[in-house]
Each structure stands twice: as structure tokens, then as C-alpha cells.
Symmetry: C2
Subunit: 265 residues, 2 copies
């Protein structure tokens, strides 16, 4: 196969012809990542001519790429200004165990609407994961989290009672659970197992998170343990995909962190 250094997004000698939609998606991926990583601090994208030069592609492809991002709600066209960023997606690290508010406090005021805070008998699977005996109780906290005025996530949290009871009288509306738990246990948390799904929001979730129906959301399960390996905190988060992204640094070697309690699945 030969070099075709003219238009990098034009169909080269591949096994099938690529459509303009293919090329536009290719441009949109790069732009989305630049926007999320803060590459355009002015909040305005480079003009069409610059984008055509940067991506070595046609005007129509650039326009279609901007259309993809517009449909996703990432950018909008503003008369006399250009293509402006509507909403930035913030990056939350998965490199270490960090509360969302710790990441987001740099970008605005994080507040929580406490929907439930009580002692309950948990679903059997939740009891199993928290090593709570049959018939035992847990503390259940449900919060709607906002960044500024915009809903960001709906957080369902199950805590073992020893760790959770003191939190029922704490400032759940204003503070991160991690720091409250660390005050409650008198020391740092240990490790966590995290699983991240991408799903279309059901109507109830869309309404709560103030998104269009079917908005792509992350559902995150996070099981957090004390340094001695005992699980104390099981959370199910629904996070707006248009507000948050996850970031991690990986290594080709063996797993760098092993769950102290082994496989909890």
C-alpha cells in the first residue's frame, strides 16, 4: 500500500470506500477529546479554515463533524462568534480512589440533594457484597449531585452500619462521602473495585438528571474497603455522560493493585 499524504481522512487504498460520515466521525473524535482536555480555553473552536488545515480534510467533512458534536450537545453554532463549547466534560481519574467532589470542586460548587438517609435491610446481593449477615441492616443514602445548578449524578450508597450511622447526622448535602467516611473510621480508606457501564437513561433517570430521554449515562458500581480489606461502602452511581469522563493510566505488566479480599464477584 502506498502513502497518500494529501488528505489523511480521504479513503485510501482500503478494502472498501469510506463515506464522508466515516471521515467526519474521525474528525469529531479528535475534537471531542481536545474539548474535554481543555484545549480550547476561550470556549470557541478554531474557525472552519483552521479545522480544515489541522485535519487535512474537506469543508464538508469538517461541517459534518461539527454536526455530530452539535447533535451530542457538545457544541453549538453562535451567530457572529463561531462554534462554541456548550458544555465541557470533566475528567475524573481512575488512577486512585478519589471522590467525585474532589475532582469537581475545581470547576464549580458541588452540592447534594439528600433524597434518602436511613437504616434499612438491604437487598440480599448488597448484603453479600458488604459481608452483612442475613437479616442485618445497612445505612442507605441516596443523593442527587449537582455541579453549579446542573444535575450531574444520582448516587445510591449502602454503608455498613458501624461506618454509616455517624454519617446520618453529618453534612450529607455539602460534603463528599469519602471524607465523611474517613472521619467516621478515623483514617484513610483502602481500595475499591469499580465497574463502569454505559447505558441509555430510563425516563425517570432522564427527568432527575435533566437530560433528553435516552441520554447516554455511566452506571458505576464502586465497592470500597478499609485498609484491612473489609468492604464498608457499596455505591451505584448514574453519571451524565455529557458531563464526566473517566481517565486512567495503565501498565502492560501484571495488575498493579490486587483486591485484598480477592475476587468479590
Amino acid at each position: 500500500m502506498t502513502a497518500s499524504p494529501s488528505d489523511p481522512t480521504a479513503a485510501p487504498a482500503g478494502p472498501r470506500t469510506r463515506s464522508r460520515a466515516d471521515r467526519a466521525r474521525q474528525v469529531a473524535e479528535v475534537l471531542r477529546r481536545q474539548i474535554a482536555s481543555g484545549a480550547f480555553p476561550s470556549g470557541v473552536l478554531p474557525d472552519e479554515r483552521s479545522l480544515i488545515a489541522d485535519h487535512g480534510t474537506s469543508r464538508n467533512t469538517v461541517r459534518e463533524a461539527l454536526g455530530v458534536l452539535r447533535d451530542e450537545g457538545v457544541v453549538e453554532r453562535r451567530q457572529g462568534v463561531g462554534t462554541v463549547i456548550r458544555r465541557r466534560t470533566y475528567e475524573h481519574t481512575l488512577e486512585r480512589l478519589t471522590g467525585l467532589a474532589e475532582t469537581l470542586s475545581a470547576y464549580g460548587r458541588v452540592s447534594n440533594e439528600v433524597r434518602v438517609a436511613d437504616v434499612i435491610r438491604p437487598p440480599r446481593e448488597v448484603a453479600r457484597k458488604l459481608c452483612v449477615p442475613d437479616g442485618g441492616q445497612v445505612v442507605y443514602i441516596e443523593r442527587l449531585r449537582r455541579l453549579g445548578d446542573d444535575p450531574l449524578s444520582l448516587d445510591l450508597t449502602y454503608l455498613t452500619t458501624d461506618v454509616g450511622r455517624p454519617l446520618l447526622d453529618a453534612d450529607l448535602a455539602g460534603r463528599d462521602l469519602f471524607s465523611l467516611i474517613e472521619e467516621s473510621v478515623g483514617g484513610p480508606l483502602g481500595s475499591a473495585s469499580v465497574t463502569v457501564h454505559a447505558v441509555n437513561a430510563d425516563p425517570g433517570t432522564s427527568a432527575l438528571l435533566a437530560t433528553p430521554p435516552g441520554q447516554a449515562v455511566f452506571t458505576v458500581e464502586r465497592l470500597t474497603r478499609l485498609p484491612d480489606g473489609r468492604p464498608v461502602d457499596l455505591e451505584f452511581l448514574r453519571v451524565r455522560g455529557d458531563r464526566l469522563a473517566f481517565r486512567a493510566e495503565l501498565d502492560r505488566g501484571t495488575g498493579v493493585l490486587d483486591s485484598p479480599t480477592g475476587d468479590d464477584r
Copy 2:
């Protein structure tokens, strides 16, 4: 606040009344995670009576929870059998740098339709991330990945020419890029920076991945480096959210892996 050990999903003395949709979502989160982690090897969910007991909730709440999972395409009701799992979501680890095929080969045959494999002049931002000088070239590979007959992801890969050129003659349809790259460079890869977004698929992506319009998909950017820190492989993946989830083990301490090249944003 007092204990209400009867129905854990019923509205306790929280600041506002929760709807049945709230309680159904709570049940659905737990079930989705159980399905993804392989808790129902028969492929059939426990019957309604068992689910009511396990979750300590009402029949109507269980039915609404199953409705949420049905709308997501996770389960379906089959006459005379019960609620069966339509499609399992597989978990891909973010604990270490692993190719998707390495994870998925346990579940079926992974194959790739090679859409493009050529030498191109990359978009400026791609050149910057791969430390390719202005006007330089890269190898571009675009593949549609399938697990069995079902499309799983669309992978756009930019490789530095020294690493990528030998791959143009390799078995791109049958093999994982990571193992091909490691053959090409004669040793293991080093580290990678990964960012994961959740977006609604544009019409072109939906068509390629054979999903309903607007399906929630992950868009993954992965920049992979050699052990000496030199970036050689920049990938943009679109992965069906109903087929794959990401999993990681985190630590409350400082970052466990630092990018050898520092912050590449």
C-alpha cells in the same frame, strides 16, 4: 432516624417521597451488575417470587425493574421460561494494559473487518500526541471488531510508521494490535493513558455497530507508549455499551502509575 427493616426499597423517613420508579431503578442497578458479573450462569433470572424476597420489595417494583432492563435490551420475557438474559455485557479490565481481544477470546471468536490500512498524513493533534513532526506520516488502521457475528466496536488506530509499517502486511483481520505491535518492536509495550466517554451513537455509528439509533456507546481514547516512554499508538474506539463494561481496582493512596512522559494533555 429509625430503622425500617421491612421493605428496604420503600421510602423511609427521607426528605421527600420516592416514586416506584426510584425503587425500581435501585433493583435494576443490582440486577444489571449481577448479570454482567455472570451471577446467573443458566441465562435465566430468578423468578418473581425470589426477586421479591431477595430485594425485599413489592411485585410491582420488581416488574418495573425488569422493564428497565428490558428497555435497555439486557433481558427479555420468554413465555414458559421466564426472564432470560438477551446479551451479556463483558468486563474489560482497566487494571493493566490489555487488548480487547485478550479479554473477549474467552467468550467467542473475535474477528476484525479491516476498513482502512494505509500510510497517511495525520490530523495535527494526532501528530502532536504521537510526537510526529509537522508534515510527517503515520500508519492508519480502521477496523470493525466483531465478537461472533455481532459488531462490538469500531477502532481507529494511528501508529508511528516505524511500529506501524510492518503491521500493514500482518494478519489485521485475525489478531490483536497489541500483540502485533509487540512483535513489531520486539518486546512488551509500556504504559497507556486511557480516557472513557459515554455518548449516544450518531446514525453512522449505529448502523456500523448494528445498534438502535442513539445507543449508548463508550468512546475510548488510548495512547500507548513503549517502555522508554515514546508514544507509538493512538486509538479511538467506539464500543457498544450493551456489550462491554470497564473494571478497575483503585487505591486511596497516590497514583500507582505515573505516565513516563508526564501529562500528555
